[in-house]
Amino acid sequence: MADLSINFAGIKSPNPFWIASGPPSNTAYQSHRAFEAGWGGLVWKTIGDPIINVSSRYSALNLGGQRMVGFNNIELISDRSPETNFREIKEVKDRWPNHAVIASLMVDTRERWHEFVKRSADCGADGIELNFGCPHGMCERGMGSAVGQNPDVAETIVGWVMEAAEIPVIVKLTPNITNVVYAARAAKRAGADAISLINTINSITNVNLDTLTPEPFVRGLSSHGGYCGPAVKPIALNMVQSCAADSEVGLPISGIGGIGSWRDAAEFLALGSLSLQVCTAVMHYGFRIVEDMNEGLSDYLDAKGYQSVADFSGAAVKTLSDWQYLDLHYKRVARIDYDKCIGCNLCYIACEDGAHQCIDLVDSAPYGLGPGRVPGKPVPKVREEDCVGCNLCSIVCPVDDCITMVEMDTGRDQMSWSDYQTRLTKGEMQPIPAHP
């Protein structure tokens, strides 16, 4: 059995699954429930000077009958007093000494940061997460993403925190920035122990076409919210990998953004995360989802021969490269399995209207009848010589393994754009003619 426990910048946790700072980590009551369900840690709902929330706080993007593919909130940090929050953290730590409890903090002045950092350590928190990411409300008051979007300001504030910190400090990064790596480097320069990302993305999920007001609706107005949930996973993976691959950052990463299953978790780990934070999926289904996360990840690591989460973390980071190093002579083409093709012709129209016009509809006679095809109705056939191997048809095909992308031996050596430029400069080859 693979070892799921982690040591994240000194924070020990029985497994890598943490509740992210948010509504599910608001109280001791919820923390007890989370740990009972099997979560390894949690980042407390951000503590600061108590705020006042509006009623009507969440909205969602639904797609094709699937609810909450994206989720949006305009809720602020904890509306409970720091005293209550720190007291409850202590209560949780007393009952769950081997689980990770991290205090998420957001205050303004140096003195306040020092005070809150100390109080976090005093109540027994295992670490501190600095909320430099919240994109709504708090940023108008010079906190949250207002800090995270300016690496210099972030560096200064992390510096203040490090002056007082006796427990590990994680800096939570905002994705609402041109290049997240600069913010990560600032955290590193200021001495932070780790980073976590991504926080929510600025969003408007939809407009009610009757009231012409977006949700969440607050007496005739709405506000820009923070977007999260399954739809943000690709953005989060991109940012996690960018930080993991950057030689100057070199910090443990807690991955956040659309994680809802062990598969999502494994992808975040593969791209350089060591711990994983989950909020939206819990808001959708409750704490019980962690059971399959633990089980699925454990089985996966066993199946692939990894000894531990740390052993696996970062396994795919190096499989990403700058585009200029990709092989221009690599070729794959689409191939259709006519025993599986049901005749929906989505591949045909996607290629014809949306891509590179490499699929013909041809007489079906030589291809027999697949499971759903109509006699006399033409079947799609890939013109392999023209197929650019873009993958689109295999992506739109609704049948698993019906269209596969097959590697073709072009008989040519590898040549990247970078190689190509070098050879052109050296006069070793002629320019490749443009596509007709």
Binding site: G65, C344, N345, L346, P371, G372
Partner: protein
């Protein structure tokens, strides 16, 4: 007749309630999202009217039921009734690729009903006729599905259309001859009203050749569409056939549609002769109206029955009993009323059905419904239209592209042209005839299928199901018979 209704109003209404409820908005969204939005979809090819099914379903999924109904009704003006009465299992849903992917097709019929009900309920007009008519007048004989399909299309093309029917209301078998639990007559009457709003005139209670002569019609109209369907039930040719409780199954179904359900007389022991889809409608409704026994008497085997498999299942679930390889040889009477049927077993010998000697027995019945096929109106048509060519099966011969008959300016469609098929075939033929009439009168060539699918092959070889076969063996067989 001595027969009486058997159920009180409440029980009858419950037992004859529509077999499927209308989708709620959420149900429609969930179901519509199952559609893959196939390109040049098999379901379109399987639909005789070539409705662009993926598009109308996508519109439901996108919260646009009005646009969805527009797509449906433009292709098939009787889309609301077809949503209920089409044998979707062997048409669109039988061709649905999701059936192959998941074992359960997209419920196209129920989605079609959701969209068409929406516009009828909200009184939204999706079809429009041009404000200015083109000055040409067309007579439509018969207000059944074929006539309505033809009338609606012509009205939208700017013609001045008058529909004649001997009944007091339009819709034909849609109004009078569909199992009540599949469709209430109001749906059909709503469709007729929609066609009236397109400016079509309806003249009811008019028998052609009796109340108005064909000569007058030819004088007053630029073209005539013949959509008079089939005649009464075929004769059995056995003693006792003319007893009062030996009733044409379609007449029985018409009683159900023209009087309150609890006033429909029905037998306690009902025999239904024949095993087509009308026989099923008759046996199931007899059972639902309180018959203790409702039996299908069919001379051939279970495998030979013309009824669709899903109709057979429905009848069995309703408690109908089936006598296969059985024929009636005599209707027995007591005091001038049906008392029993004399029955005999049959066997197939050298491809011929023969009564097994000595196999006869008597079974008590008090109502006998004939569902052994409808007569062709050959002699009536020949009398009305001298020179009208009929084929050997009594069907009116016609040009398959234009539906024009051997008589100049006389077009045909529906059961009298095809020998008796589905409502959707009749609508499609009526619409095709309208195109033919327009081609003749506007001197334009008929081009392509009725409702072109969005695309065919690059050489344009594919069209609607009209010109192309579908894969469901049951229907292919029916088409070839």
């Amino acid at each position: 007749m001595t027969l009486k209704p058997l159920l009180d109003a409440e029980t009858a209404a419950q037992s004859m309630a529509e077999k499927e409820s209308r989708y709620t908005r959420q149900e429609a969204l969930i179901e519509s999202n199952r559609c893959l939005f196939c390109f040049d979809a098999p379901c379109i090819m399987a639909c005789p009217t070539g409705i662009d099914i993926p598009s109308f379903i996508k519109k439901i999924a996108n919260g646009n039921p009005t646009g969805s109904a527009r797509t449906i009704l433009t292709a098939n003006v009787l889309g609301a009734s077809c949503a209920r009465v089409c044998p979707t299992e062997v048409l669109c849903e039988g061709a649905c690729v999701v059936l192959d992917l998941e074992g359960d097709p997209v419920k196209i019929g129920r989605l079609q009903r959701y969209a068409t009900d929406y516009v009828f309920e909200h009184q939204i007009e999706v079809l429009h006729a041009p404000a200015k008519k083109n000055g040409k007048k067309i007579a439509i004989l018969g207000a059944g599905p074929a006539g309505l399909g033809c009338a609606a299309e012509l009205a939208q093309l700017g013609y001045d259309v008058t529909v004649f029917d001997k009944k007091q209301a339009g819709g034909g078998l849609n109004t009078y001859g569909i199992a009540y639990y599949k469709m209430r007559p109001e749906i059909s009457l709503d469709e007729v009203k929609m066609i009236e709003r397109l400016g079509v005139n309806f003249r009811y209670g008019v028998k052609i050749g009796q109340d108005i002569s064909v000569a007058d019609l030819e004088k007053d109209f630029d073209a005539i569409f013949l959509g008079l369907g089939l005649g009464g039930a075929n004769r059995l040719g056995i003693p006792g056939e003319d007893l009062p409780e030996v009733v044409d199954a379609l007449d029985f179904i018409e009683w159900i549609h023209t009087r309150p359900l609890h006033e429909v007389p029905v037998g306690r022991r009902v025999a239904v002769l024949g095993c087509g889809n009308t026989a099923i409608d008759a046996v199931t409704q007899s059972k639902r109206l309180g018959a203790e026994v409702a039996s299908i008497i069919y001379r051939r085997d279970e495998d030979d029955m013309p009824a669709y498999g899903f109709e057979y299942e429905l009848a069995k679930n309703d408690g109908a009993t089936f006598h296969f390889h059985t024929v009636p040889t005599e209707v027995l009477a007591e005091n001038g009323h049906v008392k029993a049927l004399r029955l005999a077993k049959t066997e197939s010998r050298d491809g011929q059905l023969q009564i097994i000697p000595g196999s006869e027995w008597t079974e008590e019945f008090d109502l006998v419904l004939k569902a052994v096929g409808q007569e062709k109106q050959s002699s009536a048509f020949e009398k009305l239209f001298p020179g009208l060519k009929l084929d050997r099966k009594g069907r009116v011969e016609h040009n398959p592209e234009t539906m024009e008959t051997s008589v100049p300016k006389l077009f045909v469609g529906g059961d009298c042209a095809n020998g008796g098929r589905e409502v959707v075939n009749a609508v499609a033929e009526g619409k095709k005839a309208a195109r033919g009439i327009n081609a003749l009168l506007a001197n334009q060539k008929v081009t392509g299928p009725i409702q072109p699918s969005r695309h065919g092959t690059k050489d344009g070889a594919l069209g609607s199901g009209f010109n192309h076969p579908i894969r469901v063996p049951e229907l292919l067989a029916a088409m070839n018979s």
